[in-house]
Structure formats: structure tokens, C-alpha cells
Amino acid sequence: MHPAFSVIAFTSLSGMGYGLAVVLGVGLLDGASLGGQIGYVIALLLISAGLASSTLHLGHPERAPLALTQWRSSWLSREGVLAIVTFLPLGLAALGSLFFAADWRPAGWLAAAGSVATVYCTAMIYASLKTVQQWASGLTVAVYLLFGLAGGLLLASGLAAMDAAMDHTGGSWRSLLPLAVLVMLAAWVAKALWWRRAGQEHSASTIESATGLGHLGKVRLLERPHIEENYLTREMGFRVARKHAVKLRRMAWIFGLVLPLAALLISLVLPDGFAAVLLLHAALSHLLGVLIERWLFFAEARHTVMLYYGDERA
């Protein structure tokens, strides 16, 4: 599938934003603190940037409100509805945090629930597509949720460390770290399983089932319908060279897991200020890792339509 920047940016940024909103909402980062305030700002920025990027990429962004109407059947519509609904408690919680230096717990809980639900819907947009075998799995949902949460925890750890450094309140923020490490590991275990499945499982659809000509022998594409690329081949026929994919996966592991994990472990023994700086950088590294992972999520995905363009299996 074509790795469109807008969609990659949307899922990565808003995923992290919603992850942060969850951490804030359930009170793992004190919304009343400076770190919490910054956290709300960052979460809202990440979510808004992501939504804006995905909306502007539409053929008719001005009709975007129509996308809220079909929540009965469409995961994309549900995502839109939930994103907007989630803005309410999240905005309220942010309001409390920013203007009243308060942690409005019920709003936080609702925001956290909304965030999880929104990311779940995002993931389900892909996981529900039978046409892309790699995506059509509960693992896709797990990966989206865990990556968002891991990113949020990482950011929250940095912000909490910053709070600690400024208030000299001591190292209680370090209690977040094991959870962050755990979620980070869980996310990558899920992704490792996802990749393993993607490499092993194929769609039941083949060039033979797509054409119904298998009884004549092995089917091969002789001639494309139109010689140059078309919307379908551009959108669904994106190919990434195997050696590039291997390299990119390695980079995703390094930026998304190895560096943030190292930062989390090192920050256990660092002074709060240094830890804050290190962890916030680690969050950026993690975001980069997720962006690469998300690029591959699209670029490596094979759509059944390419069976009509010569792929033997999907």
C-alpha cells in the first residue's frame, strides 16, 4: 500500500497523543503539575496535528463533517466521532490543568477511555480490511494501542522527571519507569509477532482465485490493462525492496525500542534533570521509530487487487 505521509503522520502522532492523554487521564502523571500542563498541551497538539493532517489529505476536506454520520457501520466514521467526543473530556481536563491547576479526575478518566477507544477505532479501520492480509488481525489493534501507550508513557516519564527536577520533589516519578518499560516491551513483542505473522500468513486469495483460471494451469499476467501506472497500482501496488525493508525494520527497532529502552534504564540512575532531558529525547526517538514502523506498515502491506496486476498471492 502507498505509504501516504498524512496517514502515517496521523496514526503516529495522534497515537502518541492519545497515549499521553491516557497516562494523564488515569493520573499516572499529575495533571495539576507543570509537567501535566505541558503534557495536556502536547497531547492536544499531537492529536490535533494528526487529525488535521488526515483531514487535509481528503479529496474534499470541506465535507469532513459528513464522515461523522456512518458510525453504525464504518470504523472510520466511529474514529471521527470518538475523536471529537474525546475532545470534550480531554479539553475539560486540559482546562482544569491549565487554568485551574487542577486534576479533574472524572474528566481524565473519560478522556482516557475515549482515547483508547479512538485508537482502537483507528486500528480497526485497518484490521477490518480483509483485502490486506497483514492488517487483518487483532495484533494490529494491539500494536496500535501499545505503541500509543508506550509513547505516552515515555513522554509522561520525561515530563514527570522534569517536574521532579524543578520541584525537587524526589524520585517518586521513577515508579512510572517499570510500567513504561513493560508497555514498550509489550508493544515490540506485539509488533514482532505482527511481523512474523505478516511474513508467514498469506491471504486465501491468489492470482488463481482472483481470475478463476486456476484450472487452466499456473496463471501469469501477460499484459496490464493500461501500460502506465494508475490509481490502483499507485495506491495499492507500492513496493519496497526487501533489503530496504530489512534496513528500515532495524532502524525502527533501534529508534523505537533500543534507544528509548536504554534511556528508560539509564534514567533510573540519572539525576532528575538529566533524566528529563534524556527521556524527552527518547520520546522523539520513539516517535521516529514508530513513524518508520508505520511507514512499513503501509509499504509492506499487499492488497488483493495486485493479484490482478501479476502478484501470485496476497
Binding site: 500500500m1 481528503l58 479529496g59 474534499h60 476536506p61 465535507r63 469532513a64 459528513l66 464522515a67 461523522l68 454520520t69 456512518q70 453504525r72 457501520s73 464504518s74 470504523w75 472510520l76 466514521s77 471521527g80 479501520i125 477490518s128 480490511l129 480483509k130 483485502t131 490486506v132 486465501a204 486469495s205 492470482i207 482465485s209 482472483a210 481470475t211 478463476g212 483460471l213 486456476g214 484450472h215 487452466l216 494451469g217 499456473k218 496463471v219 501469469r220 499476467l221 501477460l222 499484459e223 496490464r224 490493462p225 493500461h226 502506465e228 501506472e229 494508475n230 490509481y231 490502483l232 499507485r234 495506491e235 495499492m236 492488497h303 488483493t304 487487487v305 493479484l307 490482478y308 496486476y309
Partner: protein
């Protein structure tokens, strides 16, 4: 509205005969021609006279080879929207632009509501939907909904443009919900099949497989290859000729 109708009164669709299609692309171009000035936005073409030429088409003909060596077969394969009963393109649509008509089962895009997100194209296993680059809305086969009921067109021409133009009569249009319709009978008689049944989309359009080729005729009884008479001189032939002429009187 993006929920699928539980049942449609009719299932209008196409039956495509792969045994007859010679791959001439007549259906492809007549479709483009009718629809660029018909339902909804024009079917635009980018770089029409340059490199990377590309356009929106609602019907395309692929060519496949199957089998090996001298036994290999070439099959021309037209493909457009299959108007599935369980059309995944409809249910994923966030705006309700995509819908399946309850009266005849035609899957359409109400372009006035389409936001151009492209998700329906991702959901379709067959590549039946193409985003129009110029208009930013999704285009697809309408089964020429603006022809088949059109009072401004002579009755005999109220069929999709591709069916109207096909020189080889490889495309047939009708109601596949009616077991007695010509198309249904054709599907029954010829073993019409679904594309990618495993995707669970329940396509309405059916494909008729290339007929089994009759076995190669074998040199038959009269003279087996080994014991055929020598023709080195034509004497035997002339003996027969004389007798035959005799018989003719």
C-alpha cells in the same frame, strides 16, 4: 445508509464470457466515453499527452496466460465493479456516499457526499474503485444507471454502454436474482463463477469460464500414421479418380 440493504428486489449485474472476449477494449473505452459525460464528475486524465499518462477508468481489460508451453492459453479478462451483495466498500464509507440501491442492488457513490478518503477502494478486493484525481471523489461502475432506466434512450439501448458496444457479445446484462433470467440461465449452464469467493463479498457479476477445449482431433481410423499409403506416385489416386468419375456418370 452505508449499511447494506438486507435484500435487494433485483440484483442487476453483468455476466462476462471469458470464452469469447478477444481483449479488444471496446467495453473499456465505451464505458469511459459514456461516463465521462454522464453520472457525476468527468473521468479525468492526467498528463494525457505526456509521460506518466493516467486516468480514471471504470472498466479495464487485463490479459493472462495460463499453462505452459504449447498448451498455454491466453485469456482476456475485463473487470469492473461486481456490485457485491456484501459490498465491503459500502460499509466502510464514513459519509454514506457509498451505497447499494435497495431496488436493484447497484452499488453507487453519491459524489456530492464523497470526501475522497479512499477507504472504499482499500476495502474492495477487486480494484473496482478509482479516485478521480481532478475531482477528488471516488468513481466506479454505475452499471450505467443513467442509461438503463433512461426514457431518452430507445428501449433496446437501455443497457450499460459496455454491453451495448461489445462486438463479441461477451458481456450480458440482467437480473441475477431472477433464476429464470437469461443471465441466470447462462450462469447455470456454463458454470459461471465468482471472483475471489473467499473474500466473502458475494459478487453479483459472474464470469463464464473459457470453455474446455475439445480434445485435439487425432488422426483417426482411416489410415493410422504408420500405415498410410505411399503417395510417391499418384497411381492409386488416379485409379480412385477414374472410378469416382465413372460413378458420377
Amino acid at each position: 445508509m452505508t449499511s447494506l440493504p438486507e435484500k435487494t428486489d433485483k440484483k442487476l449485474g453483468l455476466v462476462i464470457d471469458l470464452d469469447i472476449c478477444v481483449g479488444c477494449h471496446a467495453c473499456v473505452v465505451s464505458c469511459k466515453e459514456w461516463n465521462t459525460g454522464g453520472y457525476g464528475a468527468a473521468l479525468s486524465d492526467q498528463n494525457p499527452y505526456d509521460d506518466h499518462v493516467s486516468g480514471s477508468w471504470l472498466n479495464r481489460v487485463h490479459a493472462y496466460e495460463a499453462g505452459e508451453g504449447a498448451n498455454a492459453r491466453v485469456v482476456h479478462f475485463p473487470k469492473s465493479c461486481l456490485h457485491c451483495d456484501d459490498a465491503p466498500c459500502v460499509t466502510v464509507c464514513p459519509t454514506g456516499a457509498s451505497y447499494k440501491r435497495s431496488e436493484d442492488g447497484i452499488v453507487l457513490v453519491n459524489e456530492d457526499r464523497c470526501i475522497g478518503c479512499g477507504l472504499c477502494a482499500w476495502a474492495c478486493p477487486y480494484g473496482a474503485r478509482e479516485m478521480d484525481v481532478a475531482e477528488g471523489v471516488m468513481k466506479k461502475c454505475t452499471l450505467c444507471v443513467d442509461r438503463i432506466y433512461n426514457d431518452n434512450i430507445p428501449e433496446e439501448d437501455r443497457v450499460p454502454a459496455c454491453v451495448r458496444s461489445c462486438p463479441a457479445n461477451a458481456r450480458h446484462f440482467g437480473d441475477l436474482a431472477d433464476p429464470g433470467s437469461e443471465v441466470s440461465l447462462m450462469v447455470l449452464a456454463r458454470g459461471g463463477f465468482d471472483l475471489m469467493p473467499e473474500q466473502g463479498t458475494k459478487p453479483v457479476n459472474k464470469y463464464l469460464p473459457p470453455r474446455e477445449r475439445r480434445p485435439e482431433p487425432q488422426p483417426c481410423g482411416r489410415h493410422s500414421m504408420a500405415e498410410r499409403e505411399s503417395t510417391a506416385d499418384a497411381k492409386g489416386f488416379f485409379r480412385w479418380l477414374d472410378q469416382a468419375l465413372e460413378r458420377m456418370g
